[in-house]
Assembly symmetry: C2
Homo-oligomer: 642 residues x 2
C-alpha cells in the first residue's frame, strides 16, 4: 500500500488517506450519456423531486419543523429512522449539484439544511424521535433506535457537500461537526461502551474525519468498529448476528446478518483499516468479501436471502424464490467493494460493482424514476395487481415497483448512488488511470508528478461491447491506461490505433489490460468485449437453482418474463441443446412447455420421462428492465430440460 499524494480532495464519495488507487471525482470524470447517463438524467429531473415531495407529504421533513417548534413528540410521523431519508436525500442533492450545478437544487438543498439546522439541540444532538419529554431517552435503545445510524447519513451528506462545494455557507458541515462532537463525547473511549444496531455511523465518521481533518472522528469510527462482536447490544430473536455483534469484525469469516447493516459495517471498517494502516483488519475484510462473493451472492450481485430479517442466508442458501436482494444491500455492497478496490486494486471488485449496478441498483427504479423495487426477487410466481402509484407500500413488496415505502431507504439510496456515479468510473495511480466502468465519459486529471491525462470514452456499452478511448491532447510523457476486462469476457481484444494510423491489436485476458504510451491527440484504444449471450450454470452447492441455467449478455443478467413468453413461466424449460441467440436486438432461447395436470400428490417414483414437446423461441428481457409492461411472472434461473 502506497501513500497517495492527493493534492486536492476528489469530488467523490470515498477519499481514503492512502491506498493503491486514488479516486477521480466529478471534477475529473464526467459521464456524458449512455445507459448510466440516462439514469442520471432521470434521477436528477424526476427522482429527486419525487423524493422531496414524499418527504414532505409523509411528514418526515415536517418532523424537523416540529422539533424546531418544540411541539414534538406530537404529530411526529414515520419510523424511528425517518430522519435518515432526509440526510440521504441531502447527500443526493449535494452530488447532483456537484454534477450539474443546478441553481434550483442549490436552493432546495439550502432550504432543507435550514430546517434540519433549526431542529438541532444546543449541545449538538439531532434526532426527531428521542430525548424530548414524552419520547424515549437519548441513546436508550441502541439496538433499534437508529440515532447513530441517522447521524452517519448526516455525516456522509456533509462530506458530499464539503467535497462538492468546499466552504459553503449553507451550514451543513457545522451541523455535522456539532453532532459528531457530541457522539465523540458520549461514546468515546471513556464514554458509553455502545454501538448502533444499524451500522452506518462508522462510515460517516470516517468520511467526516477526512473532510475536516479531525482525527477524533476516525478514532470514534474505529471504536465503533472494534466494539462490534462482543455482545455490546442486547440479544434479539434473530441473534446478535443480525447487527454483526456476534463476532468481532476482524474475526468474522463472511458477511452475515442483516445485509445492509453488514455491508455498511464492512465499509466503515475498511475506511478505518485503510486510514489507520490496520492491514490485519483490511486482510480480514478482503477474506470476508471473497467468501461472501463465493457463497452468499446472487448471480445479479444481489445479497440477502431472507425476507424475515433481511439477512444473508447460510453459505449456498440462495433461493431464487423470494430472493430478498434488497436494493440498499446492493448499494452497500458497492460501497464495500469500492473501498477494497481503492485499497488494493483487485479488478474483481470492479466486476462485482458492475454486476450489482446493472442488475440490482438499475433494477430498482422504474423508467420514470418515480417507483422502486425494495427487494429484487429472481423468481416472480404471481403477477400481482397494478400498483397504486400514490400508495405507500409495505417495504418488501417485490411484484411491482412502488412509489414509496414505510421503510423508504431505497429511493434516496438509489438517488445518491446515481448522482455520484461519475466517481466510480475511473481511478488514478502514480503512473496512470484505470477505467473500471464503461460509459461515455470525459476524463481529465493530473497525475501526482504533474503528467496530464485527458481522454474521452465513446461507447454504447452494454448494447455493444466496443469501448473506444480517444486521447485528447498530446501527453508530454508516457502514462498507463488500464482497462478492466470483466471475468466473463473471455476472448476480449484490445486494439491501439495511433493517430498516425499504426495499429496494434492483441488479446486481453480477463482481469486488467494495460496500454502504456506517450498518448497523442486522437490516439484510440479500443477494447472489444465479446457480447454474445451466454448460458451460465450455478455452483453445484447452490441447491435452490440446481438443474437451471441463467442467460447473461455482457454485464446484464437476462430474465424470462411472461409478457414475452406468452405464458406463465412456471412450466417453461430450456429445450435440450438450445443456445441463446441474438435476433432483432433481443436474445432468444428455445423453450418447451411442460405444463401438466396436477398429479394430486406432487411426489412420485423416479424415472418417468415423457417425450419432450416441441420447442418454440421466446425472447428474454434484461433483468433490470423486467416488470415494466404490467403485471407479469418472471424467472432468471430457467430449468434445463433433460
Amino acid at each position: 500500500m502506497t501513500m497517495q499524494n492527493t493534492t486536492t480532495a476528489a469530488q467523490a464519495p470515498v477519499v481514503p488517506a492512502r491506498g493503491r488507487l486514488r479516486p477521480l471525482g466529478q471534477r475529473e470524470v464526467r459521464i456524458t450519456g449512455g445507459f448510466w447517463g440516462d439514469r442520471q438524467s432521470v434521477n436528477g429531473s424526476a427522482t429527486l423531486e419525487h423524493i422531496q415531495s414524499r418527504l414532505e407529504s409523509e411528514g418526515w421533513l415536517g418532523n424537523f419543523d416540529r422539533a424546531a417548534a418544540g411541539t414534538l413528540p406530537e404529530g411526529r410521523r414515520g419510523r424511528e429512522f425517518a430522519d435518515s431519508e432526509v440526510y440521504k436525500y441531502l447527500e443526493a442533492l449535494a452530488w447532483e449539484i456537484g454534477r450539474t450545478d443546478d441553481p434550483a437544487l442549490e436552493t432546495r438543498l439550502r432550504a432543507v439544511v435550514a430546517r434540519v439546522a433549526a431542529a438541532q439541540e444546543p449541545d449538538g444532538y439531532l434526532n426527531t424521535n428521542f430525548g424530548r419529554p414524552g419520547q424515549a431517552d437519548r441513546w436508550s435503545n441502541l439496538e433499534w433506535g437508529h440515532e447513530l445510524y441517522c447521524l452517519g447519513h448526516l455525516f456522509q451528506a456533509a462530506a458530499a457537500r464539503e467535497r462538492t462545494r468546499p466552504g459553503s455557507d449553507d451550514g451543513l458541515l457545522g451541523i455535522a461537526i456539532r453532532a459528531a462532537d457530541l457522539v465523540c463525547a458520549e461514546f468515546g473511549a471513556d464514554g458509553r461502551d455502545g454501538i448502533c444496531g444499524h451500522a452506518e455511523v462508522e462510515v460517516g465518521l470516517a468520511e467526516l474525519s477526512r473532510v475536516t481533518g479531525d482525527p477524533r472522528y476516525l478514532e470514534q469510527a474505529r471504536l465503533f468498529v472494534e466494539r462490534h462482536g462482543h455482545g455490546t447490544l442486547r440479544d434479539i430473536e434473530w441473534g446478535r448476528s443480525y447487527f454483526q455483534d456476534d463476532v468481532p469484525v476482524r474475526d468474522a469469516v463472511a458477511l452475515r446478518g442483516h445485509a445492509v447493516r453488514a455491508n455498511y459495517l464492512a465499509s466503515g471498517a475498511a475506511d478505518v483499516a485503510v486510514d489507520t494502516g490496520d492491514d490485519e483488519l483490511l486482510g480480514a475484510l478482503r477474506r470476508q468479501w471473497e467468501r461472501t462473493v463465493a457463497r452468499r451472492t446472487y448471480v445479479t450481485g444481489g445479497q440477502g436471502s431472507h425476507h424475515q430479517d433481511e439477512a444473508f442466508g447460510e453459505d449456498w442458501e440462495l433461493p431464487a424464490d423470494r430472493a430478498y436482494s434488497e436494493t440498499c444491500a446492493g448499494v452497500g455492497s458497492i460501497m464495500f467493494s469500492w473501498r477494497l478496490l481503492l485499497a488494493g486494486g483487485d479488478p474483481r471488485q470492479a466486476d462485482l460493482i458492475e454486476r450489482t449496478l446493472y442488475n440490482v441498483v438499475a433494477t430498482s427504479p422504474a423508467p420514470d424514476g418515480r417507483a422502486f423495487f425494495y427487494a429484487n426477487t429472481l423468481h416472480q410466481r404471481v403477477p400481482g395487481s397494478p400498483a397504486d402509484r400514490d400508495a405507500t407500500s409495505p417495504r418488501a413488496s417485490s411484484s411491482l415497483r412502488a412509489p414509496w415505502f414505510e421503510v423508504s431507504c431505497c429511493p434516496p439510496n438509489v438517488a445518491r448512488t446515481f448522482a455520484s456515479l461519475d466517481a466510480y468510473v475511473a481511478t488514478a495511480d502514480d503512473d496512470g488511470v484505470q477505467l473500471h466502468q464503461y460509459a461515455p465519459a470525459s476524463v481529465r486529471t493530473t497525475l501526482a508528478d504533474g503528467r496530464v491525462v485527458a481522454f474521452d470514452v465513446e461507447t454504447d456499452y452494454p448494447a455493444s461491447g466496443a469501448i473506444r478511448v480517444v486521447s485528447r491532447g498530446d501527453a508530454a510523457a508516457p502514462w498507463t491506461l488500464s482497462l478492466r476486462v470483466p471475468a466473463w469476457a473471455s476472448g476480449a481484444r484490445v486494439r491501439v490505433t495511433a493517430a498516425g494510423g499504426d495499429v496494434d491489436e492483441r488479446e486481453a485476458a480477463p482481469g486488467t489490460v494495460e496500454v502504456r504510451r506517450a498518448f497523442r491527440d486522437g490516439d484510440v484504444v479500443e477494447l472489444v468485449l465479446p457480447m454474445a449471450p451466454r448460458l451460465t450454470a450455478p455452483d453445484d452447492r447452490i441447491d435452490a437453482v440446481r438443474g437451471c441455467v441463467a442467460v447473461e449478455r455482457g454485464p446484464e443478467v437476462l430474465a424470462l418474463e411472461s409478457v414475452d413468453a406468452g405464458a406463465d413461466v412456471s412450466t417453461l424449460a430450456l429445450a435440450p441443446g438450445s443456445v441463446p441467440a441474438e435476433r432483432d436486438g433481443r436474445v432468444w432461447i428455445e423453450v418447451i412447455d411442460r405444463a401438466t395436470a396436477d398429479a394430486g400428490w406432487p411426489y412420485g417414483p423416479t424415472g418417468e420421462t415423457a417425450r419432450p414437446p416441441a420447442s418454440r423461441a421466446v425472447p428474454l428481457v434484461a433483468y433490470h428492465a423486467w416488470a415494466q409492461r404490467g403485471p407479469s411472472t418472471m424467472r432468471v434461473w430457467i430449468p434445463a430440460a433433460t
Copy 2:
C-alpha cells in the same frame, strides 16, 4: 352423505352431526403399543408434566391467579395468546384421562380448571390480557388480540372433557358455555361484524354446539366463517390473506396465508358445512384441500413455506431451505383432513394424515418428550450449538429441539394430538369398520343396526409392512372391514386366513381394500404393504428441489444426516444408478462427494463436467428421528448426480 345414527357420542375430538364415516373414540379403539403407543406413553408420562411445569414457571397459569386476585395487569407474563396454551393443555389432559383414567391427572385437571374459573368475569368474559384498567379494551384489537382464538381452545378443551367425562362436576363446560354465550351476544348477527385474526373459535364453537346441543354456537361459528374474506379486519403489511380475510372461504382456490390459521379456519368451516348441510361450502373446501396438497405441501406433509409470516408460499414455492413447516400447521392439517375424511371417506385424506403424523408431528418432540421442533426444515445447513435445555427459545429455531418457546403452541398441540390419537385410527359406517391408521390396537364397536364388531390389530408397522387384523368373537352377521392401502403401496396384498384354515389372497390396489364376511373368532385379515425403500422425485414445478430425490420407506420420509454421512451433507450427491437398500436394519444409499474449492464467483459456463469420484455407502435416518445425536446438518432432498 348419509345421516349417522350416533347412539352415544364418540369419545373423540370431532363428532359431526352427519357424514359418510362415524368416528370411533377412545371407548371403541385403543392403541396398545408400537410406534404410536410409545409416543403416547412418553406424552402421558413426561410431556404433560413438562408443560404444566413450564406453564407455572413462565407465569402463564399465574396470569389466571392474578386475574382472580384483581391485580392485573401488573405482573402479567407471556404473549397475548398465553391463555390458549393453558386451554390446549387442559384438552390434552382431558384426552389423557379418557385414555388412561389416571387419578393424578384428574386432580391436576381439576386444579387448573379451578384457577381458570376464578379468573372468569361475571358476564362470562375470560382473558387475562384485555379489559381491565391499564389493559386494552375487550375486542379492541381483533387482528392481533387472540381473545376469540383463546376461547376456541377453551371450547375444544371443554368438548374433550364432556366427551371423556360426561357431566363431570369440574366446571369446565360451564366456563365454556358462559364464555360462548358472551361471544354470541357480542358477535351475533346483530352484534359486532368481527372475526378473530387467528381462526380457532369457529372449530371450538362447532364442537361446543355438538356437546351441548345448543344450535346458537354452530350458528355463531357459521357467522365467523362467512365473515372471513370481506376485509373485516384491518389490513396489515403481509396483506389480509395472512388471516384469510382476503377472499370468502367458499370462493378461495387454496389454503393461503398463515398456515395454522388457514388450517384451523378450514377445519371450522368443514364443521359448519357438515353440520348445516352446506354442500357448496364443503365442496369448496375439498377443492382447496386438493389444490393445497397438490401444490403447497412438502413431501413430509408439512405446510407453510415462509418464516417471515409463517405462511403458505405460492403454488410450487416449497423451499427445503428454511422450510417452515410449523408443527402446529401439521396438527391443523390433520384436523382439516380428518374432517373431510369423516364427511366423504376419501382415503387420500387418511394418507396425508399418516404422512403428517410420521413426518411432522412425530418429528417435533425429542424422545424424552421434553423438547420440540417448532419449525421442521427439510434442509439443515448449519449444525447449531447444543440447546440450553432450560432456556426459552425464539419460536422459529430449527437447528435443535428446544424445551419451550416464547410462542409455545407446539408442545401442547402435540400433546393433545397424541393423547387423542386412538380416535384417528378407525371409523364406522352402516356396514362395517374402516381402518385408517395402522398400530397395534383393539377395536370394539357396535354398528348402527346392532352388529358387534371386535378385532385386534397386530403389527410392528412401520418397521415391517405386515398388518394382521384378528377377529375376536363370532360375528352374528357379515360386516365389511375396510383397510386403507396407501398411495405409495403399489403391490400390496391382502390375505384372509379363516380360523378354519382357508386362505384367500389377492392384490390390494392403493385406495381401499374391503373384506366382507361373517367374521369368526380367530379369522385373520393380513395386509402386507411393500416396505422396500423407494426413490421419490418432485413435480417438475417445485423449483427448489429440482434435480433431487428423496428416499422414503413406507410412511416415513428418510433423511441424510451428517452424523451418519461422516461429512457435511452439502457436497454429497446420490451416485448415478444408486438404489436404496436395506441392510442391518437401516436404509443405505451410495453417494459421491463433490466437494470442491470455491470458484471465487460461483456462476460460470455450462457444460463442464468432471468424472464423478468414487461412491461410498451411507445410511439414512428416519426424518422424525434426526437431530437426536447432537448438532448436525441434514437434508431430505438429495441431489442426484448426473
